[in-house]
């Protein structure tokens, strides 16, 4: 049923929009911008900051444009005297409650409140300063997230993100009136609560109230230290988003420039997490096939299916908190970041004749949870902390600027070898469904000797932004050694964003799933929408990044993980075979249940 049109006037300009459209959306359609602060395209409407108030003819009150649907014959004014005065008051009020030390703020230059106040030229300090000294004490307990209540404008975007998008509810509004604030359970430090470190709240926080713990200075120190050999690895989703923070439009692939910039910054070697993404596919694929064999042939009742991917550390922590009973379903594979760290400080260090203790591994990730992951006590299989520092895409952009690099003029360069070679399968790790697609490309071929039966290797059913995706592939004409899989329908599911993950997990928990393999990414859209990616994030921007990822895949010569020559060399030279003892020592891990508050 099509919706009918509503006719109204905004600033005397007539416009017709579908019923149910808000004043804000209608105004955008005819290019009147109404400022907002609590509104976000990923979140439900709050209507609480009141920055977007507009005048509706005949109305006693101003209307919050983000929360007011249009009605027939409505006449809206977005810039009347009343509106301007009120809006200015509201911004001044927000600032009076705000610790506006912009020059020292990590968000300086990327802050919606800052933009608003400079647009409205407030600064005459009309109102009294209301910042409470105790709010100025930042919570830096978490290795991933910094919470600074003195910068909070109570827009509740973070709460809506954490509750609705991520189903975690680590953050909530507590108290009322002047004591109202955003808090964890009982005000506990961020590190001690259910927070998964996903950073999605950071992506939607309009101010510097939530930011990542940044390790830029530590990384500069390492680079300047002549006794350290500093290796950097970059994740697949970084190359399709970095440019946004350097002033370019979303969806631009900058892989070559990224490598070049890292070399100019002074890293000793620039390597690719994609390498270990390919490796993950071999290890995880083998693990899956082994589990299937034990279940189907050996009738081993202890085998846990479906198997679930473990690349996303936000998702892993979610699982540890929320579904500890299902930890056995997780693949024991470390994430590509951690496989990389373990190999860098063993295999690679050996190869290039550097002592592991002299090596610093830095990883550039679209993800804030990776900072937490790197510090997990399990992640020291090289004998040292495998990955020393994790920087988000945003932090890297900041370093590039600090280094005075003119990004646009950079020549493309190639990753160093070894641990630098990768395939298209690894690149698509950056998008939701990518790990699944990469795994299927390899597993199907191992089992049947033929390529997956999808045009051009593109497994479309697991692509796209739907919350939960399912696919089923019939396995036919298998090689003799895989005869137990003949005729089997391999059922897979993909979820991204933790609220969707929860839906799937509840199904598995209730024993209602017939899946064999599940991919879950903690962030909406997968890593391309990661908590460390350039801000803003919107469905539209995530779509552009996804397109960039899939086009990068198509542009690669090698598009299947098992065809990565360096990975194959690694097995031959070092690991032996997939899931070998050595591989287990370095590339696999375990998980632990966590409390739920």
């Amino acid at each position: 049923m099509s919706k009918y049109l509503v006719n109204l006037k905004i600033n005397n300009t007539p416009v017709s929009v579908e019923e149910g459209t808000t004043i804000l959306q209608a105004a955008r359609q005819i290019n009147f911008r109404i400022p907002t602060l609590c509104d976000h395209p990923d979140l439900n409407v709050a209507g609480n900051c009141r920055v977007c108030v507009v005048e509706v003819k005949g109305g006693r009150l101003l209307a919050a444009a983000c929360a007011t649907p249009v009605s027939e014959g409505m006449e809206v004014f977005t810039n009347s005297e009343k509106v301007r005065t009120s809006r200015k008051h509201i911004i001044e009020l927000l600032l009076s409650e705000h610790n506006a030390d912009c020059t020292k703020c990590f968000k300086n230059g990327h802050c919606e409140l800052q933009d608003l106040s400079s647009e409205y030229r407030v600064g005459d300090h009309v109102f009294l300063d209301l910042v409470k000294p105790k709010d100025k004490i930042q919570d830096i307990s978490s290795p991933s997230i910094v919470k600074d209540d003195s910068k909070c404008v109570r827009c509740q975007r973070c709460v809506r993100t954490c509750t609705d998008l991520q189903a975690v509810s680590a953050l909530a509004v507590i108290n009322k009136g002047d004591h109202q604030k955003i808090s964890t359970f009982m005000g506990k430090p961020m590190h001690d609560v259910v927070c998964t470190n996903c950073g999605q709240c950071i992506n939607r926080c309009p101010t510097g109230a939530l930011t990542e713990r940044n390790y830029i200075e530590e990384v500069w120190d390492a680079i300047y230290n002549p006794n350290k050999f500093v290796v950097v690895e970059t994740a697949p989703a970084v190359r399709v988003a970095l440019a946004e923070d350097l002033g370019f439009d979303p969806g631009l692939r900058v892989t070559g420039k990224l490598v070049s910039a890292l070399k100019k910054i002074g890293f000793n070697k620039v390597l690719d997490t994609d390498f270990t993404a390919d490796l993950t596919i071999i290890e995880e694929g083998t693990e899956l096939l082994t589990r299937l064999k034990r279940a189907l042939v050996d009738k081993d009742e202890k085998v846990v299916l479906p198997m679930m991917t473990s690349c996303s550390p936000g998702w892993i922590k979610f699982q540890e908190h929320m579904f500890p009973g299902l930890l056995g379903n997780l693949s024991s594979c470390k994430s590509p970041q951690q496989m990389f760290g373990a190999l860098a400080k063993t295999y690679y260090a050996d190869k290039i004749n550097i002592k592991a203790q002299d090596m610093i591994v830095v990883s550039i990730m679209p993800c804030t949870a990776k900072k937490f992951e790197a510090g997990r006590p399990e992640m020291r299989d090289s004998g040292y902390q495998d990955v020393d520092f994790v920087l988000t895409t945003r932090e890297l952009a900041m370093m590039i600027k600090q280094a005075g690099i003119d990004f646009e003029k950079l020549e493309d360069e190639h990753y160093d070898s070894v641990l630098g070679e990768s395939t298209g399968a690894a690149v698509i790790f950056g998008a939701t469904g990518g790990v699944m697609e990469a795994a299927l490309r390899t597993a199907y071929e191992i089992v049947t000797g033929r390529e997956v039966p999808f045009t051009n290797l593109n497994i479309n059913p697991v692509r796209g932004m739907e919350g939960v995706k399912e696919a089923s592939i019939k396995i036919k004409n298998v090689k003799p050694e895989w005869s137990f899989l003949e005729g089997v329908d391999l059922n897979v599911a993909v979820a991204h964003g933790l609220a969707n993950a929860k839906i799937l997990m509840e199904k598995v928990h209730a024993g209602e799933s017939n899946y064999h393999f599940i991919e879950i990414m903690g962030c909406p859209g997968g890593c391309l929408g990661g908590g460390g990616q350039p801000i803003p994030t919107t469905p539209e921007i995530r779509k552009k990044r996804a397109e960039a990822i899939y086009s990068e895949d198509e542009a690669m010569v090698l598009r299947k993980s098992h065809e990565n020559p360096e990975v194959n060399g690694l097995y031959k030279e070092f690991l032996g075979e997939a899931n070998s003892h050595k591989a287990h020592d370095l590339l696999h891990t375990h998980y632990k249940p966590r409390k739920r508050y």
């Binding site: 509201i90 009020l93 009294l128």
Partner: protein, 388 residues
Amino acid sequence: MDKPIKKVDIIFEIGDDYNALDVLDKALARPADDIVLDLIDSGLKGRGGAGFLTGLKWKFTKNEDSDIKYVICNADEGEPGTFKDREILDRVPEKVFVGMAICGYVIGAREGYIYLRGEYNFLVKNLLNKLETFNKQLKERNLDFVIGIRSGSGAYVCGEESALFESMEGHRGEPRNKPPYPTVAGYNKKPTVINNVETLVYVAMITRLGVNRFKELGTKDSRGSKVFSVSGDTPIPGIYELELGMPLSQFVDEFADGDAKAVQVGGASGSCVPRKKFGDTIIGFEGIPTGGSMMIFNSSRSMYNVLHDYLEFFTEESCGQCTPCRVGCQQLLKGIEAVKRGEKPPAYLDELKKLTATMRIAAKCGLGQSVGNPFNSIIDNFREEIIY
């Protein structure tokens, strides 16, 4: 203007012929549409303060197409100095039940709830006892309607209807965006009539006594009578039912101690009327609408302290979600303190008055919108007391 003050006694009067169930039967014998028409004709306006025509509210909800509808009795009486609903629920609860049942019949609701302020939990036992009987009696009459009780969480803002729904649904008591209004999407996002205790009683009383008897009372814009909680500097504090439309001067003559310098009409969120305006202030919707609280101040009171108390109250009771109210209340409070201490010039009060103009039109709900009432009326009439 010279209408003599009349104390009336409709709500608490229990005549020989009075029987709550007779009133209900009388209503059930009539088509729902007629009851709505009568209510509109009676001119009964919501006694919670906003003053919307009760009959219209019912009509809108009745016309909504939905299988599930609700009747909510708002008994979250949180306005400082107000205690009339408590009295009503204590003394004549059946009249409230009857009002709710009539509403349920009219709009086609099957469930009704009394949302009771947390502090009134001592009433629950008695109410539940009486409800058990009453619900049975509804069943005997084949009226598919059941009344239950919900206990409030003790936040002032939960008296705001949409915050009340949020609270009933188990969420934080924060007012919602409007529209949609409760008549379209109220409790559980279903069409809901929400009336305060007193309004529902008047529905029962109009049914019993007839529209004309009700219309005899009050003025054109303010039909009927209303219950007031009288407190402050009065020798006779208490609950009184008075005809609407009387000048404040007569009220003061009747209730004050002879030395009244101001009356706060409508509780903390109402306006403060100074002595010089007693004569030309009408208590009623055409003058100062009132939630039912009348606080009298005599010359021994410091109006600075009075205002300070109110602002402290709002600073604490604002739900805090919207900027104009959360921060605005704090600025008003800190602002008068700064002026008092001489840290801001007296002219700063005018800046703050401008701020209340923004709060009045930009805050999300009635709480933030009405803080300007006490603020401006006290600043305007007692400026010296604020500054020096």
